[in-house]
Symmetry: C2
Subunit: 320 residues, 2 copies
């Protein structure tokens, strides 16, 4: 891989760092650009910690070669020679636009530029880049080096050839990627989860259920089959018949609200940042938030290994 062009990553916040780690583990050399000085200072240590976490999980061998493949810079000129650059800066179109201008000033016209956005339509972002055909969405899930999810999304002007190139590459990254040829706001998972949120908040606000109840139900019902089956396979598994009896009775009763739920408005007013400041939808003891971080890191390793036993190819092999 020594002769391959490096991959660029712009933005070294939590998500950007974790994408850098994922790319290093996949054998790429990485040119990382830190637009904020604070990120440039913090990112290398964080990435090293993430690589150590992967080593402890048995995902990789010794560490030294990985770190030697990374350069961190504040200067976009370092991206020259990249064939793929992934942008993961803050979700503000005008900031992203200025980042795209700096990227395209130094890379070749056929260098793929991907955005990790989860909220802004690709077709909209695409208006802010030269040669928009090479622009697309590459949406990762945290922690990028340990999750199999990757959502590749074309905008209206994207040439599918570029999307297919990233799709193939994603398999080398250990992903189970999806490729959306049409750009929809919120992509797949966001839309599905926001459909859940709309219904769930209406149940909480009417006092029909508590947050604890909802989480228990989701963890122990959906959680008991989700990783194996997804939604449609689950329907096949249950036999389909009951769904058609229930769909027309339940659909009309679901929430169609367009309002931000009152409890979320209150969280904003109170400056709640969840586990990041021990103030959220749940009560937290001081320091408990950090401990949830540790629990999630441990859980991620375990669900990653469990999912590996049931990845598409292996379920098929098991079924034969």
């Amino acid at each position: 891989m020594i002769n391959e062009p490096p991959v660029g990553v712009v933005g070294l916040g939590l998500m950007g760092s974790s994408i850098v780690a994922a790319l290093l583990l996949a054998g790429h050399s990485v040119k990382a650009i830190a637009p904020l000085a604070s990120e440039a200072a913090e990112a290398p240590g964080r990435i090293e910690g993430q690589l150590r976490q992967c080593r402890e999980a048995g995902l990789v061998g010794a560490l030294p070669p990985y770190l030697g493949m990374l350069t961190v810079s504040e200067d976009y000129a370092a991206l020259a020679g990249c064939q793929l650059v992934i942008e993961c800066v803050i979700e503000r179109p005008e900031i992203k636009a200025s980042v795209y201008a700096k990227i395209t000033a130094v890379v070749a016209a056929d260098c793929i530029v991907g955005s990790n956005t989860s909220a802004i339509p690709i077709s909209e972002l695409q208006k802010h880049i030269d040669t928009p055909a090479r622009f697309l969405g590459i949406h990762w899930a945290e922690p990028a080096f340990m999750t199999r999810f990757l959502e590749i999304t074309c905008g209206e002007q994207t040439d599918p050839v570029f999307a297919e190139r990233v799709f193939r590459l994603a398999h080398r990254w250990g992903k189970e990627p999806t490729l959306l040829r049409k750009d929809i706001r919120g992509f797949i998972t966001n839309r599905l989860m926001y459909a859940v949120y709309r219904e769930i908040f209406s149940q909480i606000e009417t006092g029909h259920a508590t947050a604890e109840d909802v989480d228990k139900a989701f963890r122990y019902d959906a959680g008991s089959w989700m990783t194996l089956m997804g939604i449609f396979r689950r329907m096949d598994y249950l036999g389909l018949k009951d769904f058609n009896a229930i769909l027309p009775r339940l659909f009309p009763q679901l929430s169609n609200s367009t309002e931000v739920p009152e409890i979320m408005q209150r969280m904003v007013r109170e400056g709640a940042r969840g586990v990041h400041n021990d103030h959220g939808l749940y009560p937290y003891e001081p320091g408990e938030g950090q401990q949830w971080d540790d629990a999630f890191a441990r859980f991620n390793r375990e669900i990653h290994q469990l999912a590996a036993e049931y990845s598409a190819g292996k379920v098929k092999a098991y079924l034969q």
Copy 2:
């Protein structure tokens, strides 16, 4: 436990059998009533297989004592002396009503009667039973002996004392139960999942995504945190801020459809029963359906064990 009254189960289809196995494993003696002769013939073998499955998973020791604690009968008189009877017959109110009449003819007035219904409101079913205060919903997830989910739901006339009694008992069954004091159609998980279905089918029907894409996204995104966190804890974990930016933009764009999706209507016309007749939303090779059954049985053991490491008490212990 030898002096405890037995627990009754009426209806020995797939779900009823699996509830019987769960109760036997929890140390109850069980009086099982098979309203259909075919169920009476098939159920004991199936239950024995399920107990064997639990033994192989290391959940229990040797088998003989469990089977000795089970009697299967077509005669409701066997229920006399039960303090709890769980009904799990077909989802048709008039059939359930006739079952309740037969149960109440033989048990004491304070014997709790629970229904495993997932679709009919408890307040509605409650109209068909003598002494409705002792009637409530006890909703299990398949396979009942291996999942931690249990949704206990009061109807309008239910005395909460009975619901609390079942709630306490459920912990002995190894469950993480929820107790809904108000009766809502579809309870918690059904409403949340149907909110997902409404959105997902609209994405499929407009050609924005394929069933395979949706399942991949759900398995590898939601599946990577669901079992640990549920919905609200996940929001706290992500920091809450982004949600308030996205909620008002995405809610108005979600599907509000009340129609049964065309693909589901087609499945009904075609007699599709999913893995049960190798004809469903996915294509199946002959016999592949049965193999999904085996894969799910194996997965269930593993996710059950993984979830055990992160049950409420243990996460707390880990966090301290």
